[in-house]
Structure formats: structure tokens, C-alpha cells
């Protein structure tokens, strides 16, 4: 692990979490869904969080997005504490931190057309002098969709993968500094997945985008990320550069995850 990663005065650090904890329920029966998680992300860095379902990955994502109250711990964006932001401040935060979720079926309001969905998010940009319409089109093209064809469609007229690409376009349209992708590509086919991962990969170079990529698919983690965090029962059990974690896992749990990965060709 890179030692100076956790130093708060590092100029390159976009986002830092320290001691993030989330408990659900009260007193004795409380469940620690996220337990004392600390990490730091540099500008343009892609970090993958892997772990089984129920290991707390999505809870962590929702805390970082400020969609869930934080039980304890702090987090900072560009050195500013964002743990307790409200109102305007929170809106400004969401302009810089955006997300794509896993389930393209429940992520759509079935009563909204694609255009209306994108327009709604676009309201966050109203102060920043931008041409919303062209941003919308550019974002859709980035994910390989024809704007003219999809803008007036309703979600039930789109296939699962098409919906997911629209959700990705929605997030990219905001040109965020930090993108939280919670299993965002697990519903996509291999070719499209590679295309989208490449889009993220290039944005980190061109636009300094940092990505927190949450997945159970170690193949994607391996392809995309600079560092890998492994989560089990709410705790970080392994945290290091991708090569070390994936090709030389220390923790039993990481080894087991790797063994379950379905492969195209038999290995070893």
C-alpha cells in the first residue's frame, strides 16, 4: 500500500474517508453494515471495491453519496469536510459526486421519459453556464446510444442494457469529479461492458475523473482499477494495488472470491 495515500495534506487527494461506520437498528440487535472503513482516492484514480453481496459495498456507496446518514466517521471532498453537508452545499456536492446503480429496472421512474429524466438531473447544472441539450446528447453518444432514438422513449420500451447505459449517461452528463459505480456494469454484455469501462478509463485521463467502482466481478476489477479494496462483513480486509491483491491475495476471503470466478478457459 502506498503510505502517503492517507495523508490529508496530499494535494492529489480528491476524496478521503476515515473511520466510516454505519449501524442499522438499535442497541444489542444493531448490525454494523459498514465498520470503520478508511481509504483515500487520488485525482484520476480508479478504485474497485469487491466483496460478496451483503458485505456492505452498497451501504458504503450510499454513505459516500450522502443518501444514508453516517453513524460515525468523516469524509472529505477536496479537503473539505462533507460529512454533514445540507441544502445548497449538498446540491453542490452532488454536482461533483454522481452515481450509477446496479438495477436498471428499479432505477427508472416508469412515468418519466428519458428526456425528462436527464432534464431533471440537468437542473443541478443550471448555475454553471452549460448547454444542457448538447451535454445530454454528447453523454448519450458516449455510451453508444443515438439521442434522437431514445430521448422520447419510456423505460418499458428499452432493454435492460439500454436502460443501464442511459443511467450511465445521466451521471456522465454532470461531468462529476467522483463517480460511484455500484455494480453499474454487471447487467451489461461483455462488449458493451468493455466499451463503458473504456469510457471511464479515458475520462480519468481527460477529465481527471476518479471512480469508485463497486463490483463482485474480479475480472472487471482486474481490467480497470489501480487499487482494489476487499470488503467482508462491513470491514476492509485487503487494500492494495490491483496486481498484489488479485494475483497475490493475502486474505483467505480474497482467495475464495477468486476461486469462484467463472472462466472461459481452464487455468493452472
Amino acid at each position: 500500500m502506498n503510505e502517503n495515500m492517507n495523508k490529508p495534506n496530499d494535494d492529489d487527494i480528491v476524496f478521503a474517508a476515515s473511520g466510516l461506520t454505519k449501524t442499522f437498528g438499535r442497541s444489542e440487535k444493531a448490525i454494523r453494515a459498514v465498520d470503520d472503513v478508511s481509504f483515500a482516492m487520488r485525482r484520476g484514480e480508479i478504485i474497485t471495491v469487491v466483496g460478496e453481496s451483503g458485505s456492505g459495498k452498497s451501504t458504503l456507496a450510499r454513505m459516500i453519496l450522502r443518501l444514508l446518514p453516517i453513524t460515525s466517521g468523516t469524509m472529505a471532498l477536496n479537503g473539505t469536510d462533507v460529512t454533514r453537508l445540507r441544502g445548497r452545499g449538498l446540491q453542490e456536492y452532488w454536482r461533483q459526486v454522481q452515481a450509477v446503480f446496479q438495477d436498471p429496472f428499479s432505477a427508472f421512474n416508469q412515468f418519466f421519459s428519458v428526456r425528462r429524466l436527464l432534464h431533471r438531473s440537468g437542473k443541478l447544472l443550471r448555475h454553471a453556464d452549460v448547454d444542457l441539450d448538447s451535454r445530454m446528447r454528447a453523454a448519450l453518444e458516449q455510451v453508444g446510444m443515438h439521442p434522437a432514438e431514445v430521448l422520447d422513449k419510456y423505460p418499458h420500451e428499452l432493454s435492460g442494457g439500454q436502460r443501464q447505459r442511459i443511467m450511465i449517461a445521466r451521471a456522465l452528463m454532470m461531468e462529476p469529479k467522483l463517480l460511484i459505480a455500484d455494480e453499474a456494469t454487471s447487467m451489461l454484455d461483455a462488449s458493451l461492458r468493455a466499451t463503458i469501462l473504456n469510457v471511464l478509463f479515458d475520462l480519468r485521463a481527460d477529465a481527471d475523473l476518479s471512480v469508485l467502482f463497486i463490483t463482485h466481478d474480479i475480472g472487471q476489477a482486474c481490467y480497470l482499477s489501480d487499487r482494489v479494496l476487499v470488503m467482508q462483513h462491513g470491514k476492509l480486509v485487503e487494500n492494495g494495488p490491483t496486481e498484489d491483491v488479485i494475483f497475490n491475495p493475502k486474505h483467505d476471503y480474497t482467495q475464495r472470491l477468486l476461486a469462484d470466478v467463472p472462466r472461459l478457459h481452464d487455468v493452472g
Binding site: G51, E52, S53, G54, Q102, D103, F105, S106, G144, M145, H146, E149, E157, L158, S159, G160, G161, Q162, Q164, R165, E183, S186, M187, L188, D189, A190, S191, L192, R193, A194, T195, L197, N198, H216, D217, I218, G219, Q220, A221, C222, Y223, T242, E243, I246, F247, R256, L257, L258, D260, V261, P262, R263, L264, H265, V267
Partner: protein, 346 residues
């Protein structure tokens, strides 16, 4: 182009269970029809698992709806024939798809099924619905007992029936829903993306469950729809690759994975990401361009705008199906290079 005259009747694993020929299905949309399944023919043997893979929006789910006779407006089946377990029916554009045999002969496990059970009913109510849809007279208690027995037989906790959907983990929910949708022992189960939302460990358990259902003959055959080729390798006997509403290639799993003959199959395989050192060193580009709009597909081979091996004939004339019903590639290149794998040419 019709391929449905079987050149070779199979002996393993079993008799032909389902034979679909020339299926065509269209979504009626304001802007015109979208033909999402176009002239698809395929056969499945008893006991076989047929994987269906392909890019998003290529019509996999639509094919599932047509085969399970659950097509409903705006989806219309325009034509084709279906023969299941010796019984035949033909689709006719003027009539709604016949509703015979649904549930007991063919059962569909829809994409996202595990998240589409109403959050306000118990899993048990869902089981009662399924049994009663087939046998209206069955009492609630009897239906629940039958579901409980089936769950226990397969090593799943019967108490899941008294839970609300959100009280079960994703993997458990998916397995319980799968078992319940096969309560009527369908001859054919069509599972649409049953593992896509699950993590690797749960995926494995889910696949073991499907194999057990097959082994115990609780389901006859399975059509497994997914975009995840490595998962198909764990369970499918054969794989059909769909592109823009058509079958591009179909064949034995190991043949498809190791000796694909259709350029599209080759390109799909090349985009698979596995945790091995070589993928970190090279950029996996995916297939350039996007699949065509199904409202206005390109002439000739539908893949030609994205194909590296395309020739003039590809741009004008629909390619032939090279091979027999059991294993073929619809491609001009495959026609000219019989017996060769496409990988080394890409």
C-alpha cells in the same frame, strides 16, 4: 432461409423437446415496428441446457417471451411454428399467441423476476398464485405445503415462504423464485438473466440449483439467457449467439468458446474480462460501433457495418447458415472457410 429440416437427429442427451421454426416477433411502436426476433429457428433436446447470449437489445428476452408464449402487446408474434413435446402450434398474425401449456409445459423466469415480486406480499402468496393459476381448486394450505416440500427437497429453507421479499438476500430470493416457478414441473424452463445480478459465489450456487432441477427431472430442459459467456460455460451444452434479432451462430459450448466461426462470436469472446494478468496489459476494445436499430436493420448480414471480415456480398445478401440445425454459423466468411475458427483472423 430455413434450416429446420434437421440434417441429423440427435441421440444425446435426448429426444428433441422443442422445435421452433421461423419465429418472427415485432414490437409495435409509434415510429413503426421493431422486429426484435426475426426468422429464428432452433431446437432443444430433452435434458439439454441451451445458452442464449448476445449484446444487450439483440432480442434475447423477446425470444424468451415468444418461446414461453407470454408475448403480450405491444409485442406481437408475426409468424413461425412451435413444436413442444410433440404438440404443434403455429403463430398467426391475426390471433393472440395461444396460451396453451403455459406454466406446466413452458415456464418463464423473467429478467429481474426476483425484484418484481410485490414487496407487500409474502413469498408464500406468490407460490399460492402459481399453483392456483394452474389448479384453481387447491387450498392455500395445500399450496403452501407443496411449495415447502419442494423447497426442502432442494435444500432451501421452507420458512422463506413466510418472509417478505426484502427479508431474503438476493441470492436466496433468486433461488426461491426459481424453485417456485418450476413447481409445476415444466418441460422447458426459460431463465432470463437469472445470475446477472448475483455475485460470483451466489452465481455458482444458483447454477448448481438449476443442475439439480435438471438431474431430478423437475424441469426437462433449460434455456439460459445471459450475456455472461463464462457462466454459460459452467452449465450450457450448446450456446446460441444472437445478433440484431437473429441467431448468428449456434453450437456445442466448447466449440463456440474455442473454435467460434462467426466473427461476431469471436469479437464477443475477445471482450470477456477474466482476472488474468494479460488483460491488464492490453486494451479490450469491445466491438466498435453499436448494434443496428432494429427498426431499420442494415441489408445483407446485419453485422457487416462492424465486421472486420466483411466483403461485398455481406453488404447485400443475407448470409447462409453453414452447418446443420445443431451447429451452424450464419456467415459468408464461414461459408468460404469451412472448418476454420475465426479467432486467428480477427
Amino acid at each position: 432461409m430455413i434450416v429446420m429440416e434437421p440434417v441429423l437427429e440427435p441421440s444425446v442427451p435426448g429426444e428433441i423437446l422443442l422445435r421452433a421454426s421461423n419465429l418472427r416477433a415485432e414490437y409495435e411502436a409509434a415510429s413503426g415496428g421493431i422486429v426484435a426476433v426475426d426468422d429464428v429457428s432452433l431446437s432443444i433436446r430433452d435434458g439439454e441446457v441451451l445458452g442464449v447470449a448476445g449484446e444487450s437489445g439483440c432480442g434475447k428476452s423477446t425470444l424468451g417471451a415468444v418461446l414461453s408464449l407470454t408475448a403480450r402487446p405491444p409485442l406481437y408474434v408475426l409468424g413461425g411454428e412451435l413444436e413442444i413435446a410433440g404438440r404443434k402450434l403455429s403463430f398467426d398474425p391475426d390471433h393472440a399467441p395461444p396460451r396453451l401449456w403455459r406454466g406446466s409445459v413452458v415456464s418463464l423466469l423473467p429478467q429481474g423476476a426476483m425484484n418484481s415480486i410485490s414487496p407487500t406480499i409474502r413469498i408464500g402468496d406468490f407460490a399460492v398464485d402459481i399453483i392456483r393459476a394452474h389448479e384453481p381448486g387447491v387450498s392455500r394450505k395445500e399450496a403452501i405445503d407443496r411449495a415447502a416440500e419442494r423447497l426442502e427437497q432442494l435444500g432451501l429453507p421452507a420458512r422463506a415462504l413466510s418472509s417478505y421479499p426484502h427479508q431474503l438476500s438476493g441470492g436466496m430470493k433468486q433461488r426461491v423464485v426459481t424453485v417456485l416457478s418450476t413447481l409445476l414441473n415444466p418441460r422447458l424452463l426459460i431463465a432470463d438473466e437469472p445470475t446477472s445480478a448475483l455475485d460470483v459465489s451466489t452465481q455458482k450456487v444458483m447454477i448448481e440449483l438449476l443442475i439439480e432441477l435438471l438431474d431430478r427431472r423437475l424441469v426437462g430442459s433449460v434455456i439460459f439467457v445471459t450475456h455472461d459467456l463464462p457462466v454459460l460455460r459452467m452449465i450450457a451444452h450448446r450456446i446460441a449467439i444472437m445478433y440484431a434479432g437473429r441467431i448468428a451462430e449456434i453450437g456445442e459450448t466448447e466449440e463456440i468458446i474455442n473454435r467460434a466461426r462467426h466473427p461476431y462470436t469471436g469479437a464477443l469472446l475477445a471482450s470477456v474480462l477474466v482476472p488474468e494478468p494479460q488483460i491488464r496489459r492490453r486494451r479490450i476494445t469491445g466491438i466498435s460501433g453499436a448494434p443496428p436499430s432494429l427498426a431499420d436493420p442494415p441489408p445483407g448480414c446485419r453485422f457487416h457495418p462492424r465486421c472486420n471480415l466483411a466483403t461485398d456480398v455481406c453488404r447485400t445478401t443475407q448470409p447462409p447458415q453453414v452447418g446443420d440445425w445443431h451447429q451452424y454459423a450464419a456467415c459468408w466468411w464461414a461459408q468460404d472457410h469451412q472448418g476454420e475458427a475465426v479467432v486467428s483472423y480477427l
